[in-house]
Symmetry: C3
Subunit: 294 residues, 3 copies
């Protein structure tokens, strides 16, 4: 027998209107009644593997040791594989489709250990249709892992290096500017960028931000570096060090995403504020040539 | 004492914006701290007994043994009865209003065993108003059942045959066609029909679908039989065997409900594709007289 | 060591689309795996301290003994304090920002006992940014409380009388009328008022209701007193004794908030129905001078 786990962290694009999440938990409950399921989110946009994988990658450092059950699976029922991957010397096991959803989180957790394709149907439920692998394959596997079934019982070992990689966009430097993108817009409208604080440290306390260049509606603003939303003051755009250590475009008590009309994957260019007509120094001022949106 | 239960499966139309669900769980927690509550959904459309009863009926085979607590209760506070019904030789007990909500699930679980009306107010909470039976009557009863209180302690035995039946729409045959309806539209826009695969098996791999006849805007399409969404290919309507064993109108990564402008209870007519102008054989073709939306 | 707790009741404005709630639960799970978290709601409108505090105040009488973790925190990361406050002789501890969110619930629970500001960073997580106090400060503190860490271990004692008070609006009498306001609109559109049944008892079974006076679009209706929604009959406005013992403007199976175009904080004037042109007695009639919407 393998190691026994007590917690399943659960992420999907199922939404919460249907009973999908509840049925998966019921299946787990019948097989591994001792396991506690923690919902990370079930509101990943439908089929959005990128969003799901970024959410997992952000959160993996905070997850309780145990099983991660992740389902964003447009290829459900096809020959895309379902897999289970050990991480952190078996502290955790990630279970889901092999479509790039798990890969960034596996990397953040230190890389893959043992991995299997879930080919042993003895640990699956018999299913009337092929469209609910979360219920029929992944949930029972997660529960059996909690019961101490060894990973290699669940299917054929595979080379973790051959798993489908995820796509984590990296910023690039271009003529002194950082060309990044929005990774995530949160509930409050804060726009997390794929840019860390070190990358713009030499720009100073105020950074020039341009969005919309690729869509033909460029919008340039200045953003103040700040540690809290409140420090920005009313209506001022800011670059705040967010809770995951990345820079985020933010407003105090308002949605930066709405203000800037940007969303996930949209390009954001960060530049130092120029000497002519801008504020090169410490004091924040808004150049007159900037378009200020409502 | 009766049997002790560890799990309460919980379905309502309370939504998740208010604290109703949390308060019910708090009441349960105080009375039966050992019980685990599994949310099936709380997004049944307000007062929609049909939708709630179909959700329960779909899921009952997957629920953990224990108590089912279901509340869609437009008649709350009136003389409609609250009931508890044993199913599967006491493996489960369904608790809710006697308004048809529970009946289809009871039938799916093999029929009713012992049943009581919840007339013993000793097991209820005192309440300042009459509008929250979930908190004041049903939750404490579910919790006391988990603690091993016998069903007959909770109120007066009733004849389960006299419970208000639910309404499960059946398809009918009409001149070689199957006239069915949409039971459920899921988060992804898949439209589950009240039609099983056997009923259209003789139609072959392609089926003619007509919706909107009753509203004066008939729309006829062909749908391909498929096992997975992906197999449909981009933009093609399909009849997929869904995860509950029923046929569903589906598109790959798009909403069939939006594409066809249909929702729950809407009529769907399934017919064999005719010989003239249609594809009688194996290959899928789209007759030119079909209206192709967008 | 202090008292050990088993339950954390959890309320935020985080929404459920992002992983915030799940990450907080993961942090709790790692520190206090025996604790059960009950979600009250995470759909408090963003930054709406008033709505959050009223929700807590309504529900506190029903909460399981243990820790209440509440986060609506527009001042996150600033010098606003995070606090923990014992209530009910240590039956409960409320943990959250000191911004008025907790105060009404503390009062409803009988007032504050010991209180501390959460200044002992040994019980916090190290954080890459300052914007997620729920994860980095409040969640670990709540979990350590569950483990039996004494309140005074968590920081410096403070005088609970100096905590920021909440604002609970009181109705006033004005020329025989009661001038109240909407405290809360629930999922079904019922509008809870800050008016109890005793305050309008002398008005009789029918009450004149005026909304919209402050916005220049006054709308006067009569509302029937009733115990259930069903008793109102189709389309008739009612004043129903709600599940928390307050009066609520309601319709049967329809949204009173939509019908009257009102929301939280909006003024509602309640008056006896006058003798001329109105119904003074028992029978309900709708005076012809009332505007009946749709």
């Amino acid at each position: 027998m393998g190691r026994r786990y007590d917690t399943i962290s659960f992420l999907t694009d199922y939404g919460t209107v249907d009973e999908f999440v509840g049925v998966v938990k019921s299946v787990i409950r019948e097989i591994a009644p001792h396991a506690t399921v923690i919902d990370l989110t079930h509101e990943v946009p439908p089929f959005d593997i990128r969003a799901g994988s970024l959410t997992l990658a952000r959160t993996v450092a905070y997850l309780a040791s145990g099983v991660v059950l992740a389902v964003v699976d447009p290829g459900v029922g096809t020959d895309r594989r379902c897999v289970a991957i050990e991480v952190a010397d078996g502290e955790g096991v990630m279970v889901g489709p092999d479509n790039g959803l798990l890969a960034p989180a596996v990397a953040m957790a230190g890389g893959a250990g043992r991995a299997v394709v879930l080919s042993n149907t003895e640990y699956h439920l018999e299913a009337p249709g092929a469209t609910f692998a979360g219920r029929d394959i992944l949930a029972p596997v997660a529960a059996h892992l909690c019961n101490g079934v060894d990973l290699y019982e669940l299917g054929d070992p595979i080379d973790a290096d051959l798993l489908l990689p995820g796509v984590v966009p990296l910023p690039r430097e271009e003529g002194g500017a950082i060309v990044g993108e929005v990774l995530w817009v949160d509930h409050f409208g804060n726009c997390q960028l794929n840019v860390g604080p070190d990358e713009v440290a030499h720009f100073g306390d105020v950074v020039k931000i341009t969005v919309g260049e690729l869509t033909g509606t460029p919008n340039t603003r200045v953003a103040k570096r700040a540690d809290t939303f409140f420090d920005l003051g009313t209506g001022a755009l800011g670059l705040v060090l967010d809770s995951y250590g990345m820079l985020a475009l933010c407003l105090d008590r308002r949605s930066a995403a709405q203000e800037l009309c940007i969303g996930p994957s949209d390009q954001v260019v960060l530049e130092p504020v120029s000497d002519d007509g801008g504020s090169a120094g410490g004091a924040v001022s808004v150049p007159v040539n900037l378009r200020i949106d409502r």
